[in-house]
Subunit: 190 residues, 2 copies
DNA sequence: CTGCAACGAGACTGTTTCGTAGCGAAACTA
DNA sequence: TAGTTTCGCTACGAAACAGTCTCGTTGCAG
């Protein structure tokens, strides 16, 4: 992928991605047509096809470029603080109105677009790894049993926030995140 | 909605819904075109338009007809048994391969189809009510504080199962459901 | 067995969409 | 400033798609 990227081509590419993202957020995947993206971005269709070979290829890129990173917490302040800040950051990230409209589209497209599925899986495992590091802190501090299953815990902690952002009533995600962590820690405090 | 429904019209309607469901499962919302549904069902397009006025109307109906019910547990055996069986049933239901492909489509379409959003919300609140009844058992048994927030708990319990079924690795949902209930109950066992 | 309502087949219209191509203008490079 | 990319604009073709309509056929209740 280390192509020679002209500085000009980069600008048009950014414009296209921005416009396509907005269309995806406002009208769902069906709204992201080549003509609509071209019109909304002010970039010609022919230019769009100089960046991606098909519409689907562009759509995958749109999602990929919008996947947010979750800030990693400072491990020096101990397990509970680390977990709380990490999950709080996750909640804030997921609560972003733009991202929370992209997620369902991503989940749906995942079924029929293998490339997208791979990206989602990779992201998930990256985030599970960060969580693993935090859980190790808890094990070291004797607050968690060493036998704990990271995959299960990942579902247990991320699930509620994810679920609430998808089908949720007006629940505050940060509040929910605190509650989830509360219950998780309390459940291992014998 | 209490129309005079001919027995013959009912058959063609069922055939259309079955075919449309299969298309939705296998190809996503984009695959559910009027022509495709007509071809796959062996029912003429004109007949399809005698049942629904637009394609979207049909699509909403397809989702609606596929929303599963979760068996309610017998409350006489106490809180923990009731919660365990209810969540177990929920996990089994969500794990159904057909339904687990419809869900993401539903979540995605929800954004742009208000009718569908209403159906999803209604279903969610119905399920939250059933959970409420079970939680009340726990409160009566003194296993849960009376101040508990049903909405939060709903997210806490359903979230992980839902999340795992959407982006999950090969986790067994029933096993996850047990783990979630374990942690939830343990967290309130002071 | 008769009459009506529902049906199948498919032609047809108008629109949308993807993807391609040609050409003149603007932008970068030397 | 001269030359080479890269671009925007526009038109185009082919296919998919939603929705309508006609006409001849079939199931079914009375």
């Amino acid at each position: 992928m280390t192509k020679p990227i002209s500085p000009r081509a980069l600008r048009s590419r950014e414009k296209l991605l921005r416009a396509a993202t907005e269309l995806l957020v406002e009208s769902g995947p069906r709204g992201v047509t080549v003509d609509a993206v071209s019109d909304a971005s002010g970039v010609a269709k022919s230019t769009l096809y100089r960046h991606w070979q098909t519409r689907d290829e562009m759509l995958v890129d749109v999602v990929r470029c919008n996947i947010p990173d979750i800030d990693e917490p400072d491990p020096s302040r101990g397990f509970e603080v680390a977990l709380r800040t990490y999950m709080g950051n996750a909640a804030t990230t997921i609560a972003d109105p733009q991202w929370s409209r992209i997620v369902p589209a991503m989940m749906s497209l995942r079924t029929t677009m293998p490339d997208l599925a791979a990206i989602v899986d990779e992201d998930r495992s990256a985030k599970a790894n960060k969580l693993q590091a935090i859980l190790d802190l808890g094990i070291a501090e004797g607050l968690l049993p060493a036998s704990i299953d990271t995959d299960m815990v990942s579902n247990l902690l991320f699930g509620p926030i994810f679920f609430s952002s998808l089908v949720g009533q007006s629940t505050e995600l940060e509040k929910l995140s605190d509650y989830v962590v509360d219950r998780f820690i309390a459940s291992y405090a014998t």
